[in-house]
Symmetry: D2
Subunit: 385 residues, 4 copies
């Protein structure tokens, strides 16, 4: 595993726990975690149970006893690591977003396509697909339970930037983060909407908004760096160069219209990824803040008994559930990372491309790019890729 931030903890938990509940075709070992700071990465290795730690990710690629590279670094380093790993014959699991730019993502998708021909696979980590209620939503749509899709709504809302005292962290700087709410959480809304509907966005009309333009510099900002961050002179602040809010309309290739929103300013919404899909025969509504349930509306039921059914997605018949606890016993955020391990290891071990592939990740990147281009041109409708 390359990287050891918040995502490192989540991925570690996935690798550790998945084999204890699922029968995997291969048995993962937590061999090595790599990071820049030797001491910190050693501490992470100890805490999360990795056998070794190191500071040179290229060295990892040379080891024969390592088959999989799991990339959880910030987006600006994904391309270099992933491409090198694939070329070294390692299977790659890479956190989303695939990259910070479309060009990087294209190079990664190309490398993945070449590697796949040699039986080496790459996958991008949109784990919310693997929340059982989300997977089940996809299953219902694919099985025709809501008929033909008429309309889609997807949003991902948080509120951690409402406080103007939140400092100018790397996530608020375009050169490091690529974009703001759009790429960080909007990407999840896009992926999930596409996953559940089985349809891809073809064009978008979008608006980006930075609500708070300047923020305090982090305490450890070097004086030289401060000068480059564009804040009002002497204010101790720097300019926010990414979006706080992204709103866009999207048209799927099928013609279906969707509305999308990603925001870090929705006061009181902590992790509200919601997708609602309306069809000719029914509808589904998913909410990550209520992740053990799926709302399902069946238009084919008798008129006086129609309504949204709150399905507790904890029955053994539901995706992934039979490996866990009895009905009615809740799963949490991290279980998606175990499911990701299950699907990734199964794909790799059985020679079947796991999804979402890098090509899928690239396509999301192109949607993000189209939103940015639309926003830069008065929200005019803009084709994806």
């Amino acid at each position: 595993m390359i990287g050891y931030g918040f995502m490192g903890a989540a991925h570690s938990q996935g690798w550790r726990v998945a084999p204890r509940f699922f029968d995997l075709p291969a048995d993962p070992e937590l061999a090595l975690v790599v990071g820049r700071h030797a001491e910190a990465v050693a501490a992470a290795a100890a805490k999360w149970g990795w056998a070794e730690s190191g500071t040179d990710w290229r060295a990892a690629l040379e080891r024969d006893d390592i088959d999989v590279i799991d990339i959880v670094t910030p987006g600006d380093s994904h391309a270099e690591i992933a491409i090198a790993a694939l070329e070294a014959g390692k299977h790659v699991l890479c956190e989303k977003p695939l990259a910070n730019t479309v060009a990087e993502a294209e190079a990664m998708a190309d490398a993945a396509a070449r590697a796949a021909q040699r039986g080496v696979y790459a996958m991008v980590g949109f784990t919310y697909r693997r929340v059982p209620a989300a997977t089940f939503a996809r299953d219902l749509v694919a099985a025709g339970r809501i008929g033909t899709v008429n309309q889609v709504r997807a949003s991902y809302r948080q509120d951690w930037l409402v406080d103007p005292g939140v400092p100018l962290a790397w996530r608020l700087r375009k050169e490091l983060a690529g974009s703001g709410a759009l790429g960080d959480i909007g990407a999840h809304a896009i992926d999930l909407a596409q996953f559940i509907t089985g349809q891809r966005l073809g064009s978008v009309s979008g608006t980006l908004e930075t609500v708070i333009a300047e923020r305090p510099l982090p305490a450890d900002t070097a004086p030289g760096e401060a000068a480059t961050l564009g804040g009002s002179a002497g204010s101790g602040t720097g300019r926010v160069t990414v979006d706080d809010v992204a709103i866009f309309a999207g048209r799927f290739e099928t013609g279906v219209l969707g509305s999308f929103e990603a925001t870090r300013f929705a006061t009181g919404r902590k992790n509200a990824l919601r997708v609602e899909v309306s069809g000719t025969e029914g509808a589904i509504a998913f909410d990550l803040e209520d992740l053990n349930a799926l709302e399902f509306y069946d238009r084919t039921a008798p008129a006086d008994r129609q309504g949204f059914t709150r399905i507790l997605v904890t029955e053994p018949q539901h995706p992934y559930i039979s490996a866990w606890w009895p009905a009615g016993h809740m799963l949490g955020y991290e279980h998606g990372f175990s499911h990701q391990v299950v699907d990734f290891v199964t794909g790799v071990a059985t020679g079947v491309q796991p999804t979402p592939s890098f090509a899928d990740g690239l396509q999301v990147q192109r949607v993000l790019d189209a939103v940015e281009r639309s926003a830069a041109h008065e929200s005019i409708w803009t084709p994806v890729g």
Copy 2:
């Protein structure tokens, strides 16, 4: 009252009930209801308790014993009736939308402004402002309980057009209805968002969508008329010329960004008018399908006790409630029409312009128009009026 459709029933109930619960400065009498078909309007008068019925609305304007004209006809006749009534010195209550075109609405607003100088008042019927939870939301925002507004979401979702068998009624023909979901229900979302925030939209970027392009002609369509309705030859269908779905981003004059949606294709949503306003100190969320409650988030509460509070807006301290039942006893859809009567009669009787005025109605009309213009130009940002 001119007109006697569904809105006639609702207005009649408002006029009948309001004086029984509220102390009004004047005592309304249900004098006369006017409609095109003598027999049908007489039946309506009998059913709803109006003293007389008639077929000539101009005759009503000449009667000295009539002080108020309540207009509940379709939008294409509002301007003519309202302007004539105001010129005849009658106070006017006019259902929304104010008119089908901006030009008509401007003429009406002008007439209302002139009349107001003579102490004759006009008001447009956005009754959802008068659902106590919505009024209370406005009060909380106005009192600063959510601080400065950062972001707005408003949507009005229904599903009655999902069935392709729904015939091509007047509401689906632009020449009669002006627009589709946009004007019919989107207008409510716009008005309510502006009302609660106390802010006006300055520009928009919008998309309109007709999901089902052709629908069966109503059974009573004359052969000659059928030919003009543009359906596929011999199909017994006609073209839908209004939007089924309207999605738009809006920027308030303050710079605040909002997302808006109006749809008749949200399967399972029957009357889901929702407005969420996110501020620096809190948030409010209103849902017409849960109209006795308001969700309120207080960011100034201790961090471990923050959350959306479901306030049952049925306490005597809440707007309009003390006239009705004890705490915990629910109100319904129609109560807004009683509150409208209270506010209209109070304004008229005390010589204070009741709101929303025709100028307010015109401004909503201009927003609708801007959305249509934006939609016609690839969703480019378009200033309101």
Copy 3:
């Protein structure tokens, strides 16, 4: 109408509104309202639109132009008025509880049985049966949609007595009110559970609790009366002689077990009448604080799609709804009183005994009495009646 308190307002609204929405076989006129204080009752008549007011209810019984007596006085006067009215050949609608004692209720039921033989009908006002979602719950159970009933839960919770400053009103004195939470709101829970299941309670095991034993005397308490109210000497308080909380288990005649609770100390619950019925094939859950919806669980659905469906009971197929507004437009508390008028007038005019009859009211009274007897004997199981 005899009486003009809070219930007088609700009944007046029912009489006034029902004929405007429903086609009734007879046309009710609001002829006369009777109360003790001439001035107050005259004001009530004016406010609620009754033609006349008076202070002598016996005089009303002698009037040929009066066919129906509607009794909304406190429970201790029900028996005398109702029996006299029935004997005078008047149809009687009597607010619940039928009476304060079983003996009175028996006399009333006897009088009603005799009158019914002459085509004169009596009905008791458990209006919550006529909330459409409650009626629909009964319909679903009766149609076998939840199979055979296995278990019942019913509770009615309010919180208006949590404040120790609430004075010793008549509702807190056994000699006037009969009982406390038990009779006032527990009676509704009992009636509704029996109505929805179509089963009657046969025995109970109950506990009564007075949480706050002494309360301030009302400001207008006469000095002589104060002395009789049993408070601590010189404290300005009196003893609460009714229950604040009633909890009981009940066994229906079918053997089904139910749990019941009535309380005025459930902080935050304003009007929470809830009934849940669990059956072999499904379940229903009703909540008066969410009165436009019914939760329905269908155990015959595929295992992965089971869940509680929130049915918005506002469709034209639902009980009483087609007379009102389009789907998704909410009804409120008072609509049950219109439905009561519809059912009462229809029964009376067509010669069919309307329900709940006085015999039904007597049976509820017997359940209340059995709970009190059980509570007085360490909660030992006690047969009803």
Copy 4:
């Protein structure tokens, strides 16, 4: 760990995961799992990551490298193992219920008291106390946020016995399970209500009910055993000898009244452990089916802003949360087992008695026993212990 059923999986997960997120004063190793069937327990050890497996729990007590015995066997073996382990100087974590009888539980509590004097600790596993929202509820009550408790409601409802085809498993036989819903899930409701309020039940009035009296024998029932199970002759069924439903009123030692229910027949309720505590200043409501949230009502808020606040208990300020994920990222059922490990290891390593102690477990057992005695005597009020 002795035993390896469903609870073995949950405890294993707790032992495995806790040290990866929390800083523990001692580092647990998964040394040995013991069970009756060598092959099955070896498979469990392999799956869950225990170093060794064995079939002789007494041998484990003799090993110096084992400090802790974790008992997850059925209740009828708890006493023997736990007492022996404590006498062998091993710290003991024992699943609930502490034992099947009060006598056994007393012996265990005695042994634990003796061991504690030697610095050897025992704890019983009511893990739902350690769901963060439940712990936080206790904290709010202890901090006085709801004032003085007036009333309590606790219920635990499931529906897995609605199907009459569910066979006569050990949980339905009194000689093996001790009791039915009462001890299995009612014990949780009792413990949680006592934990949150900080009060103990002093007396109860209860009713037990077996809804389905006979069930099919399990396929592997030996012919000899079948004859002892009391079913109708030749039917292939046996008698259910435990309760399906338990309803009881309980009075806390403070005088506060509570209502309790445990049922396996609440159709549609999968794991609905709910506790609501009503106080003079507020209320809390917890629901295990919505375990990341706590409902809190603050009666000290302004009258027009009171309501139940849905607190998402995922903030770093909330109990246990800072060790896990960012705000808004949900936890699941199993996290309580990690928290249990944290609290147990911390207590043991620092020489502080962890709670709930065996004495606490004994007290719950006494409540269960009192309910059974009350139920056997027509529900008469019965003192605990």
